[in-house]
Amino acid sequence: MSAPAGAWEVVIGLEVHAQLRTRSKMFCRCSTAFGAPPNSQTCPVCLGLPGVLPVVNRRAVEYAVRTALALGGRVNARCRFARKHYYYPDMPKNFQISQYEEPLAEDAALEIDGPDGAPRRIGIQRLHLEEDVGKLVHEGTLETAAASLVDYNRSGVPLMETVTRPDLRSPEEAAAWLRAFRAVLLYLGVCDGNMEEGSLRCDANVSLRRAGTDPLGTKVEIKNLNSFRNVQRALEFEVRRQAQALDAGERLVQETRLWDADRAATRSMRSKEFAHDYRYFPEPDLPPLDLDPAWLAAIRGDLPELPRARRQRFVEQYGLPAYDADLLTQSRALAEYYETAVRAHANPKALSNWIMSELLRELPGDDEAALARCPVPPAHLAALVRLIDEATISGKIAKDVLVTMLRTGEPPTLIVEREGLVQVADAGALAVLVDEAIAANPRAVEDFRRGKAAAAKALVGAVMKASRGKANPAIVDRLVQEKLSRG
């Protein structure tokens, strides 16, 4: 029995591990900085040596609470850590301190735009804290290596695991949700969102069911999704694979599959029969975490405006098109940049255009650090647009000025002044140039008089050239028209 094409409904849930932006690890004081020499950021605690004990990093708890509150979650007044057991050499204690029955927070949600543009609320089942494991380095490939080395720098780095409800309905939507989630983390300042360095990792659960039916199909977990693109591609592959199997009347097995980006395919890692028994039990070395309501209230009071709210406000307050608002709110740094510029010079649309078409060509808009380092601060960009609006320079000249600004970090006024780029708007001075152009181009004058209106453009061009672009083109055009008609 095979179902007609398109008869399957896709059901996706995501599990996202976000590395929290704390200076020190989850349970010890070692640095979390990325890229240090192997095992240079370790101590007896994160090496799991005999006799050591964990101590909870308060900042990590704060970051997870901030995220949970921002997503409308219920932060449990008391949560507990638990040990999750399995043997693997990247995990020094052969158990991971995580949370199980009493997570930090539950029942949150994050809205995204649905396919029809209407908001879709994607539920978040739980949000909890855990420690990261180390990294295995194989000499050659895993299969052929004679030896493996372990780098424990990452061991004990704080992770926040967020588990969505199976509310996502397409690979595209899953990728969009992950983008939106990442933007929220960046806004909250709790994660740097760097997927290449592994600061943000995603596993996906996907199953198919007959459209219009309730029970969930057999689910498959896909691991190793380290970019938005891979999330979407892996899910697309898996949806096709499952649909083909189901169409062919095969039964799917519940299993964990690994995404191989090079081969653009998922492959089986382990099936349910070989699933681990993690033997969770409450971590006896850590008392339950009782969160002070006053502390929670303080964190709640300090929450920033989130991307979707800000996007809406940009449309309403600045009259921006939705497209502009979406782009400008992709990171908190970029939105701050824009608003600072608008406060300095109230031309919201022009500033949006300059940021979108010029600035973002030079900088990634979701890179908070790059924006912070941008040689053109918002005040300078605002000043540049003001020079155009006040007809001090033309838009064309302004683009050249911006190139210099990006190179030198100087304010536009300084550059315009030093390079003598101030637009000539003095009709008297321009009249001299117009007269010279008319005298030097008798043919153009002749053409104009024969009724070839376009000939005036050649004369305006000649004046602009003579002024090295500084002449105000509107005034030049008026003067040329006047003189030719009069003559």
């Binding site: 040990r83 057991h85 006896p284």
Partner: protein, 487 residues
């Protein structure tokens, strides 16, 4: 003092150092001399840190000479159970798997002893990973009871108890999970104190059962136990389960007055199977307390009998988790294998003794999916009941008086059946699973000349009352002054 004589108390020692009657070097050499002469027969030590001890003794001697001792323990030769991490000195847990493990750090209690000027003589023997009640389960050699070399010293802190009883150290630290300080103290005729759970830092104590383990002193008398507790107790930021409450002046709380003290005597501790000589000695001891002004009343603690079963679920469950890290990857024993799993299996098969393996299997089973609730979950509920019952009793009385053990020291090999061995802990376990402070003080001798222990249990953090009662009893009786004849 001469090298032949058994050791004086720590309190007497400090006075002798102050008066110049003896020196830390002389006393340390005395201990080392007794170790040389006697430990071949007793087997209390796994390692002697002779050179470091003599160097520390000389430094202490200088401080006393300068009139600037670090405190009453300055220059006191002390032995450490070999589960306490010592920087640069092998810490083996009496296990092959940690035979070559050299910790890069000192346990907090070790650091505190050093800061108080104590001289560390060496590391004492124990049942492997503190699992046992006879010190027969050491991977290296058994320890013998100084009162009768055919008999066990108790366990698991048997090495520490035998060292103190035999004058091979002036005092020692042990650890108590289900009775591992009190039971060997009773068997060896010394004072053994298990503090309130959380009173003493566990950082650097190689874990057996995290929710039960506690470090405590073994000493020749109650005052010495108080002196040691004063030094090792107190909050440790590295141990999240350590208690923040200030440390009282325990020695100031001593005295010989128990007028008004309410002493409860639980029926369930005087049951069939209790050695009649022990019952008689303990009842005499209670009569002594009454004669000194205490109000004695009978109590019923009906859930006490469930303590043993509860303990033998919880302790192995936690142990199975704590001991997972010994896999041959990072430190300690490694037995090479075909692949990773094979290496880990071979390492653990070769590295752990039979009792440790038995408990790992018990604990792994108790935490397994499908059995967790029936075993671990149920045990936690019973644990709560036992604690509530003891708390309720201790709301009526100040201390509970009972035997420490059902029998006196048994002969080596006499309890080959694990269950017979486990029954030894029946009287010590209730205080352990309730986290309450408890002490064993010598209260007489059997007809065959073996020591008998009186156990006192007090409210959480009420070590002052516990020590006061024990001290008053000790002052009224001669038992603590008796020493084994070792030649």
């Amino acid at each position: 003092m001469t090298t032949g004589a058994a050791a004086p108390s720590l309190a007497a020692l400090a006075a002798a150092y102050r008066d110049g009657a003896t020196t830390p070097t002389a006393v340390t050499e005395g201990c080392l001399g007794r170790i040389d002469r006697l430990d071949g027969r007793i087997g209390a030590y796994l390692a002697i840190t002779r050179d470091a001890a003599l160097a520390d003794a000389r430094a202490s001697e200088q401080r006393w000479r300068d009139g600037r001792p670090l405190g009453p323990l300055d220059g006191a030769p002390i032995a450490l159970k070999d589960v306490l991490c010592t920087r640069g000195v092998p810490t083996t847990c009496a296990s092959r798997i940690l035979e070559r493990f050299v910790p890069p750090y000192d346990a907090t209690v070790v650091a505190r002893l050093r800061a108080a000027g104590a001289v560390i003589l060496g590391k004492t023997n124990l049942d492997e990973f503190a699992m046992g009640s006879s010190t027969e389960h050491s991977a290296f050699h058994p320890t013998r009871n100084p009162w009768d070399l055919q008999r066990v010293p108790g366990g698991s802190s048997g090495g520490s108890a035998a060292a103190v009883a035999g004058g091979l150290a002036l005092a020692a630290l042990g650890t108590d999970t289900g009775g591992s300080i009190r039971q060997p103290a009773a068997f060896c005729g010394v004072v053994g104190l298990k503090p309130t759970y959380g009173r003493v830092s566990r950082y650097g104590l190689i874990a057996f059962a995290s929710s039960l383990d506690q470090v405590g002193p073994l000493a020749v008398d109650v005052r010495d136990a108080a002196l040691l507790l004063e030094v090792i107790a107190g909050h440790d930021p590295r141990d999240a389960t350590s208690v923040a409450a200030p440390v009282p002046d325990y020695t100031a709380a001593l005295g010989d007055d128990v007028r008004g003290l309410r002493v409860g005597v639980p029926d369930e501790y005087f049951i069939e199977g209790l050695d009649p000589e022990i019952e008689a000695a303990v009842r005499d001891a209670i009569a002594v307390l009454r004669d000194r002004g205490a109000a004695v009343e009978r109590l019923s603690l009906p859930t006490t009998g469930h303590g043993l079963a509860t303990y033998y679920v919880i302790a192995p469950a936690e142990a199975s988790s704590n001991l997972a890290r010994y896999d041959g990857v990072r430190y300690g024993l490694r037995v090479e294998g075909r692949d990773l799993i094979d290496m880990v299996s071979r390492t653990r098969a070769a590295g752990f003794g039979p009792e440790v393996k038995r408990r790992i299997m018990l604990g792994t089973y108790a935490l397994s999916a499908g059995y967790y609730e029936a075993y671990y979950g149920q045990a936690q509920k019973v644990r709560t009941l036992v604690r509530q019952e003891l708390d309720a009793a201790l709301a009526r009385v100040d201390v509970i008086a009972a035997p420490t053990t059902p029998g006196v020291a048994f002969e080596h090999g006499a309890k080959a059946d694990p269950l017979a061995m486990y029954l030894n802990d029946v009287f010590t376990i209730p205080a352990s699973i309730s986290g309450l402070p408890a002490i064993s003080v010598p209260c007489g001798f059997s007809g065959s000349g073996l020591p008998i222990g009186l156990q006192l249990i007090a409210r959480a953090l009420d070590e002052p009352t516990l020590l006061r009662a024990a001290h008053a009893y000790e002052r009224a009786t001669p038992w603590h002054a008796r020493r084994p004849a070792l030649g």
